[in-house]
Amino acid sequence: MTAFLDLFGKTPLTRRRAYWGLALVAPNVLGLLFFFGIPVVLAFRTSLLDWNGIRPPVEIGLGNFEHLLNDPAFWNAFGVTLKLLAVVIPIGMVLSLVVALMLNRKLHGRSFFRVVYFLPVVTSTVAATMAWTWMFQPRYGLIANVLAPIGLQDLNWLTRPDLVLFPIAAVVIWQRLGFDMILFLAGLQAIPRQLYDAARMDGADGIRMFRHITLPLLSPTTFLVLILQVISAIQIFDQVYIMTARTTRGGMNDSATTLSLFLYETAFTNSDLGYSAAIALAMFAITLLLTVAQITLQRRWVYYESGSE
């Protein structure tokens, strides 16, 4: 008994502190384990079942994963997600960096610009996507009208398989820009001013200072933004769900069905819970792989001032 009590501390005072500590962390830790820990275990368990949620489940081993590898619908969703990543991430990062660089100087209306660029971040994705959906309607939409002088007013952005990802990417980039801008601004403000002063004394021009001071010293922030972008872009759901709701959810021929939407439809339209769990785990694995790949590659381009990582 005393040996057990010793675990909590040698003196009554340290023991009392240990009890307090446990009591303080208990609600959140137990809640996390129950509401998030159990589902993690359940995810693996469910992925091994053939189960529609009503009939008794049937054990099928790795059957769902075999199906996954041979399912054209999964590879289609994977491809759609990769295409979106390829558009959203580079454009989003360049735009947010450009805006951050501009707002990092002395300018009139700096805080005004910061507010306007950040506004979409706080907006509900559903409401904002609704506005964009209206803007992208053929003929009477705002964008159709802007494009009318070059004869593109009847372009049906949301039903054409070759176009549908552009409106979706536009909303994603628009809503994400302010978030990345703030991260870049924080990174820029951490670069010591003296470096620029010294470089200017040595006769360096703006472009060289950007290449040899700003970019390398900002690279840890760029790396962070990239990691966060990848994680969030893999999960794109709301925008697709709303934008394609009027015609065919997921776009014509699933041309806009992202992995998340595929997961959702498998679970709730097709009631294939086992398979959807397998898709979820595949998404997790893809995220993990991309993150690990980036962490490995960072050594080549991310500069850490202290010399250690």
Partner: protein
């Protein structure tokens, strides 16, 4: 001698003038780009409000009306409430879920953060590592099992499903722990000597000293909870009495007959509380983003 120095001076002056010209040109370009960008960023909001105030016949006129000729904002508001009579209830549901989740998280996460920051107990490192491990799991990976768990509890389509899982957070706990650890421990010790128990110390000393972190974390939680769509869609999408506003706006669109002016009015109502909150709490939002960026989420 004096001639060369004069030439030098005029050269320097010329170079200086050139640089000033360049600077002015750069400034001008900067403003043009920033203003164009700002217009694009604000355009969907403008278009949302403009459409929300248009009469039905103005929706299908060419060229488009940037500003409605005779705004009918209030009539459209009334029409929206006619089509969706419980819209106010949905806004209230959203507000209730948002506040309950935020307050719940503030309580559970401050307690846990304080426990991990200042106490020693057996299993501390394992529990902390396990909580942080859950941070790595993307929400969508556990969406279906979460649904199954809530179904097992018979919580589907209840406020409990919308609120309770959202009151626990590894991320907020981690952020608050960082904030608490920056407070000098001597302040807490002196209160302890005066006979205060840990809860009293937390509420009277630690939390008041962490106001900035608490505010930053609260605004991002409020924003995330209010705008949440996929989770309420899955766990409480079919029961009208617990419907939140994001779901309703999506459903309005599903009914194809809903004209764009009413859809934009609905979207506007769903957006406006967060826009107001943002304008009031701007600084905390920005801090929240920096914090959440650092936390890696």
């Amino acid at each position: 001698m004096s001639a060369t120095s004069r030439i030098d001076k005029s050269e320097v002056a010329e170079a200086g003038a050139l640089r000033d010209d360049l600077n002015t040109a750069w400034k001008l370009i900067t403003y043009v780009i920033l203003i164009t960008g700002a217009v694009v960023m604000a355009l969907p909001f403008f278009w949302m409000i403009s459409t929300a105030c248009k009469a039905p016949q103005e929706l299908n006129t060419l060229p488009v009306q940037w500003i409605p000729q005779n705004p009918v904002c209030l009539q459209n508001l009334a029409a929206l409430y006619e089509q969706s009579p419980n819209f106010n209830n949905y806004l209230l549901n959203s507000a209730f879920v948002t506040i309950a989740r935020t307050v719940g998280q503030l309580i559970t996460c401050s307690l846990a953060a304080y426990g991990f920051a200042r106490f020693r107990f057996p299993g501390k490192n394992i529990l902390f590592a396990m909580s942080l491990g859950l941070l790595m799991v993307p929400f969508q990976a556990i969406l279906i099992p979460e649904y199954l768990l809530l179904r097992q509890l018979d919580w589907l389509n209840t406020f409990a499903a919308l609120i309770v899982p959202g009151t626990f957070s590894a991320f907020a706990m981690f952020l608050l722990r960082q904030a608490f650890m920056q407070i000098p421990v001597e302040l807490e010790e002196s209160a302890m000597i005066d006979g205060a128990n840990p809860l009293q110390v937390l509420f009277r000393i630690t939390l008041p000293l962490s106001q900035a972190a608490l505010a930053a974390f609260a605004v991002i939680t409020v924003q995330a909870a209010w705008n949440d769509f996929l989770f309420p869609l899955v766990v409480a999408g079919t029961e009208p009495s617990v419907r939140v506003v994001t779901i309703v706006v999506a459903l309005l669109q599903g009914e194809r007959s809903t004209p764009w002016n009413l859809l934009m009015m609905g979207s506007f109502l769903a957006t406006v509380p967060m826009l107001i909150l943002f304008v009031i709490m701007q600084r905390h939002f920005v801090e929240g983003v920096s914090l959440s960026g650092l936390g890696g989420k």
